[in-house]
C-alpha cells in the first residue's frame, strides 16, 4: 500500500507541473460559490475493480457558525453488505436492475479511508447513520469564512453495477467514487446516508482530477480533458503517457463550478465516439458499436435540448458535455446525470419509433439545469430536480417531437407517461416529502410534479409560466434552491398569491375531481287555481311548457376549485357557466334540454382526475369505438391465424 501511495505522490508531479503551465479557466468570474474544491489523483485497476486515490479538499465554511466536525459521503459503502441503509431499503435492486450474485464478493463494493490529515495532523472520525457517512473530528474549529485543506487517501472497490456505479465486464462507471464533503448551511450540516431511491446534494467547486488507467481505455468524464500534441505523431491526445509505467496513461481533467465528478471507462476497441460542437459546446458521445443507428437521434436530442434550454432558461454555460451510452449489461448505470456528463442509453433498433432514446437524453440533459446548476437537495426535496426535469422533458417532447409517439391514428402526447402515472395514484405523498420517506417515490418525485407544474402553467398562463421558469432558473442557478424559492419567484412574477395552490398540490395529497353526474329533462307545467288581487279564485287549465334541461355536477375530490361547464341546448344555443366548485353537488337548469355538455372545456385543469365523465351527450360516439374494437379484434384474430390455430 505504501508503494502505491508513493506512486500516487509521484503521479501528482506531472499534475502540478501541468497545473502551473496551463491552468485552464472556464469562467473569468466564478459562477458559483466555490466552497468544495478537489484535487484528485486516482489510480484505476480495472481487472480488480478498484480505484486507489488521494485528494486535497479545500473547503470554505460558508455557514454562520464555526464547526469542529466535517461529514464525508462514502457512498460506495452503501454496497458494502446487506445491512447498509441502501441495501435494506432497496433489497438489492434499483429501477428494475438487480445486484449480481450476492455470494460473489465482486458484487459488493466499499470506500475505505486510509488517512485524513489537516495541517499535517492526522484526523479521526466515526460513522454516521451508516457507513456511507463518515464524520471527521477536526483538530480545531473552522470559523465562518475560513478555508481549510484536508488531505485524504482512500481505496474504492466498485460493486457490479446495478445502481448507477460499478463495473460490468470491461466497463466501469465510476460515480460517487471519492469521499465527498456534505453541505454546511447556517450552523447545520446536511449529509444524509445513501438511501435506496434518493440521490445527492453537495457544494460547488473546482475539480482537477488525474485518472491513471491502463492504455487502451477511453474515459468519458465530467469536465474537460487537458490535451497535448504528441511529438511522435503530431496528433492531439487527451491521455498523457504515464512517466512511471509505459503500459498506463493519465487523463488530466478539469472543471469549474460543478458539484460532482464522475467518469466511465471502457476499451476503445469496442466503444465508438463521436465529437461535435453545437452552440459553442463541445459534445462527446460514447456509444456501443451495435447502437450506431441511433446515434443521429441522440445528437438531435442533445442539440434540441441545448437550444430549448437556452431559449427557456439560459445558455448552457459549460464548454463541454459528454454523453455515454452504456453497454446493455451495464444498464444499471443508464439514465443518470452528473455535471457535464449524462448516461443516456439506447437500444440497437426502434421499429415503432418510440422516443425512448430521445426521452432519456432530453431528461438527463434537463438535469444539467435541475440538479447540475440548480443544485437542490435531491435527498430531501427530490421533486425539485426530478419533477422539474420531467416537466422540461414533457415540454421538449411536445414542442420538438410532437409527443412520444405521433402516428397516424394513435398519438402519445409528451406528458403521457406523467399523466398515466399520476392518474393511477393521484393522491400520492406530498411533493415536499423526503425522498427516502416517500412510499410513492416515483410518482412523488417525477410524475406528480410534472402534472403540478403543468397545472400551474394552466393557472398562470403560458407566458407567465415561461417567465417564472426563466426567472427561477436564472436567479437560483449555482445555488441550493428550495420549493419556497420557487414559490416566492412564481408569486413575484405572476403577482398572485399561490398559498392555496401550494397547500392543494405541493403540500397536499388531495385530488381535483369533478364530474357530470346526471343530465335530465324537466317537464314543467303551469295552470291551476289562481287567486287574483280581488281575492277571486280562477282555475287556469293545466298546460305543459317547453321542457327544460338540468345538469347535476359532483365534486368527488378534496381540492376545491372553480370550474367551467359548457352546454349546448336543443335550441342550438351554447352556454357557459362557472361553478365555484365548493359544494359536493350542484345542479344548473337551462331553458331547453341539454344535448351536449362538457366540464372544463378550455382545459384549465390538466390535472383533472376524471375526464371520462366530464362530458356528456345523449348519443354514444359509436363509430370511433367500433373502429378500435375491430382493430383490437383484428389484431387478436390475425395473431391466432398467424400461429395457425388448427
Amino acid at each position: 500500500m505504501k508503494q502505491l501511495f508513493c506512486r500516487l505522490l509521484l503521479g501528482l508531479l506531472p499534475l502540478t507541473l501541468w497545473g502551473q503551465a496551463s491552468n485552464p479557466v472556464w469562467f473569468k468570474a466564478p459562477l458559483a460559490p466555490r466552497l468544495a474544491n478537489y484535487e484528485i489523483e486516482a489510480y484505476v485497476t480495472p481487472e480488480e475493480h478498484t480505484l486507489k486515490g488521494s485528494l486535497k479538499l479545500t473547503w470554505k465554511n460558508a455557514g454562520t457558525q464555526a464547526t469542529t466536525k466535517m461529514p464525508l459521503h462514502l457512498y460506495l459503502n452503501a454496497f458494502k453488505g446487506p445491512n447498509s441503509i441502501f441495501m435494506r431499503e432497496g433489497g438489492g435492486s434499483l429501477r428494475g436492475d438487480r445486484m449480481g450474485d450476492e455470494n460473489d464478493q465482486s458484487s459488493w463494493g466499499y470506500c475505505r479511508i486510509e488517512s485524513i490529515r489537516l495541517e499535517g495532523r492526522s484526523l479521526q472520525g466515526s460513522y454516521g447513520e451508516d457507513e456511507s457517512v463518515y464524520w471527521v473530528n477536526l483538530t480545531r474549529a473552522v470559523s465562518p469564512g475560513e478555508t481549510v485543506t484536508l488531505e485524504i487517501e482512500w481505496v474504492s472497490q466498485f460493486p457490479r453495477v446495478f445502481a448507477r456505479t460499478g463495473w460490468s465486464d470491461g466497463f466501469l462507471m465510476a460515480a460517487q467514487w471519492f469521499p465527498k464533503v456534505g453541505v454546511y448551511q447556517g450552523s447545520q450540516w446536511t449529509c444524509d446516508a445513501h438511501h435506496a431511491n434518493t440521490e445527492f446534494f453537495s457544494d460547488f467547486g473546482t475539480y482537477a482530477v488525474n485518472v491513471n488507467v491502463p492504455r487502451g481505455f477511453w474515459l468519458a468524464h465530467s469536465g474537460e480533458a487537458i490535451t497535448y500534441i504528441d511529438p511522435a505523431d503530431g496528433l492531439k491526445k487527451d491521455a498523457w503517457p504515464d512517466p512511471l509505467d509505459d503500459k498506463r496513461m493519465i487523463y488530466k481533467l478539469y472543471a469549474e463550478d460543478i458539484h460532482d465528478f464522475a467518469f466511465a471507462m471502457k476499451s476503445n476497441l469496442d466503444w465508438k465516439r463521436r465529437d461535435f460542437t453545437y452552440r459553442g459546446v463541445r459534445v462527446s458521445l460514447f456509444y456501443e458499436p451495435s447502437h450506431h443507428l441511433m446515434i443521429d437521434r441522440h445528437v438531435a436530442a442533445i442539440e434540441t435540448s441545448l437550444r430549448l434550454a437556452e431559449e427557456w432558461y439560459f445558455k448552457y454555460p459549460y464548454p463541454v458535455l459528454t454523453v455515454v451510452d452504456p453497454p446493455a449489461n451495464a444498464s444499471g448505470a443508464d439514465g443518470m446525470e452528473y455535471p457535464t456528463l449524462i448516461m443516456a442509453g439506447t437500444s440497437a433498433f426502434d421499429p415503432f419509433n418510440f422516443r425512448i432514446p430521445e426521452v432519456v437524453t432530453v431528461h438527463e440533459f434537463g438535469h444539467q439545469y435541475f440538479y447540475g446548476m440548480l443544485a437542490s437537495d435531491e435527498v430531501n426535496e427530490p421533486w425539485l430536480d426530478e419533477g422539474f426535469t420531467s416537466y422540461f422533458e414533457s415540454k421538449v417532447m411536445q414542442r420538438h417531437y410532437s409527443g412520444l409517439l405521433n402516428s397516424r391514428r394513435f398519438q402519445l402526447p409528451g406528458n403521457f407517461s406523467s399523466l398515466m402515472s399520476y392518474l393511477m395514484t393521484p393522491n400520492s405523498d406530498p411533493l415536499t416529502r423526503k425522498g427516502y420517506e416517500s412510499a410513492t417515490y416515483g410518482n412523488t418525485a417525477y410524475t406528480k410534479p410534472d402534472m403540478v407544474l403543468q397545472q400551474l402553467e394552466a393557472r398562470l398562463g403560458h407566458q407567465t409560466m415561461s417567465q417564472v421558469m426563466m426567472t427561477y432558473t436564472r436567479e437560483m442557478a449555482f445555488k441550493h434552491p428550495t420549493h419556497l424559492d420557487f414559490k416566492r419567484i412564481a408569486e413575484r412574477i405572476s403577482g398572485r398569491n399561490l398559498d392555496s395552490f401550494w397547500s392543494d398540490y405541493v403540500m397536499g395529497t388531495g385530488i381535483l375531481d369533478y364530474q357530470i353526474e346526471e343530465v335530465s329533462v324537466l317537464n314543467t307545467q303551469e295552470g291551476g287555481w289562481d287567486i287574483n288581487q280581488k281575492l277571486e279564485a280562477e282555475f287556469e287549465p293545466i298546460t305543459t311548457l317547453m321542457p327544460q334541461g338540468r345538469i347535476k355536477l359532483q365534486r368527488r375530490g378534496e381540492i376545491v376549485s372553480p370550474i367551467t361547464l359548457w352546454v349546448r341546448l336543443s335550441t342550438g344555443e351554447e352556454r357557459k357557466v362557472r361553478w365555484d366548485g365548493k359544494d359536493r353537488w350542484v345542479h344548473f337548469d337551462f331553458p331547453a334540454p341539454i344535448v351536449q355538455a362538457q366540464l372544463d372545456p378550455d382545459f384549465e385543469y390538466p390535472i383533472l382526475n376524471n375526464r371520462l365523465y366530464a362530458s356528456w351527450s345523449p348519443k354514444a360516439p359509436t363509430r370511433g369505438i367500433a373502429y378500435w374494437a375491430h382493430m383490437v379484434m383484428s389484431f387478436l384474430t390475425y395473431s391466432l391465424q398467424g400461429i395457425g390455430l388448427l
Binding site: P289, S290, H292, L293, A348, F349, P351, L404, L405, R408, R409, F410, Q411, L412, P413, N415, F416, L419, M420, L423, M424, E517, E518, V519, S520, N610, R611, L612, Y613, S615, W616, S617, P618, K619, A620, P621, T622, R623, G624, I625, A626, Y627, W628, A629, H630, M631, V632, M633, S634, F635, T637, Y638, S639, L640, Q641, G642, I643, G644, L645, L646
Partner: protein, 305 residues
Amino acid sequence: METFQTSNEYSPQGPWAFIKKSLIPICSREDAEFILSWVALTLAGAWSLKSRWLDLMTYSNGSSMLAQDWGTRLSGNDLVYFIKGSPTITNVESWVGSVFILLSSGILFLILRSGWRLQAHMLGQSARFSPWIKGLGDALIIGFLPTILLGWLLSWLTDSLRWIGSLPMMWAAFVWTILLPMALTSFWMMQWSICRVQRLLEPVTSYKDHLRFCFYMIWKNIGSWLSLAIMSTALRVALSYGALWMAWRWGAGTSAALGSVILIQVGVTILNAGILRCLLVNVVHFLSNQHFVLKTVEDLKRRVL
C-alpha cells in the same frame, strides 16, 4: 433428404406434394363451418368489445363524449382517462367483459372442433373427441421439446442478423422475431394434426410405435414441414398485417370507411381461414398417402412371401 416426387403414387411423398390438391375448394358443410367460425370470432369479438366499451361510457341516459374523435385519432391520454375513469375497469376481465371472454372462448373451441370435423369428414369418420384430445397429448410429448430446441436454434440466427447492425438486417431480424414463434407454433400444430389423424387412420395398438410413427412423419420431412409452416405463416401474416395497415390508413372518419375496414377484415379472415383449411386437408392427404404406400408395400411383401 426428403423427396418431392409427385409422379410415382407408390412412393411416399412429402407435404408439399399435396398442396395443389389441398387448394381445391370443396364447399362441404365442414369447410363452411370452419371458415364461418373464424368470421364469427372476428365479428362477434369486435361486437362484444364495442358493446363493453360503450357500456363503460354510458351514464345518465347518454354517454361520455370522450370517444368522439377516436375514429380519426386516439390519444394515449384519452385511453388513460378511459381506463382510469370507468369504475369497473380495474382489471382486464372487467375491461373486456365476461361476454367477450365467454363468446370468444366458445367460438375458439368451435374453430378447433370444426377443423377436426373437417379432417374426420375427409376420412369418412366421425370426429370423436377422444383422438382429438389424445392427439394433443401425443403432440405435447413428442413435439413440444423438439420444437423449443428448433426455435432456439433458429432464434440464434435472428441474433446473428441483429449483430450485423445494418438497418435492413435489423428489419429482417425484427420481422423474423415476430414470424418465428408463429411459424413454430404452426409447426407444432401440424404435429398435433398428424397425431390425431393417425389415431383415426389406425387404432393405437402400441403407444410407443404410435408416437414413433407420428414423430417420424414430421421429422423425416422436417425441411418440407418447416418451410410449409414458415411460408404459410408468412402469407397469413402478410395478409393480416397488410389489412391492419390499410385499416390504420383509412381510419373511421366516416361510416363508409368503417364499413370498408370491416369488409377487409372479413375478407382477410376468410382468406386466412382458407389457408388454414388447406393445411388441415394437406395433413390428411399426406398421412393417407403414407398409409397407402405402407399398405401397398406390405401387400407386395405378403404376395412375394
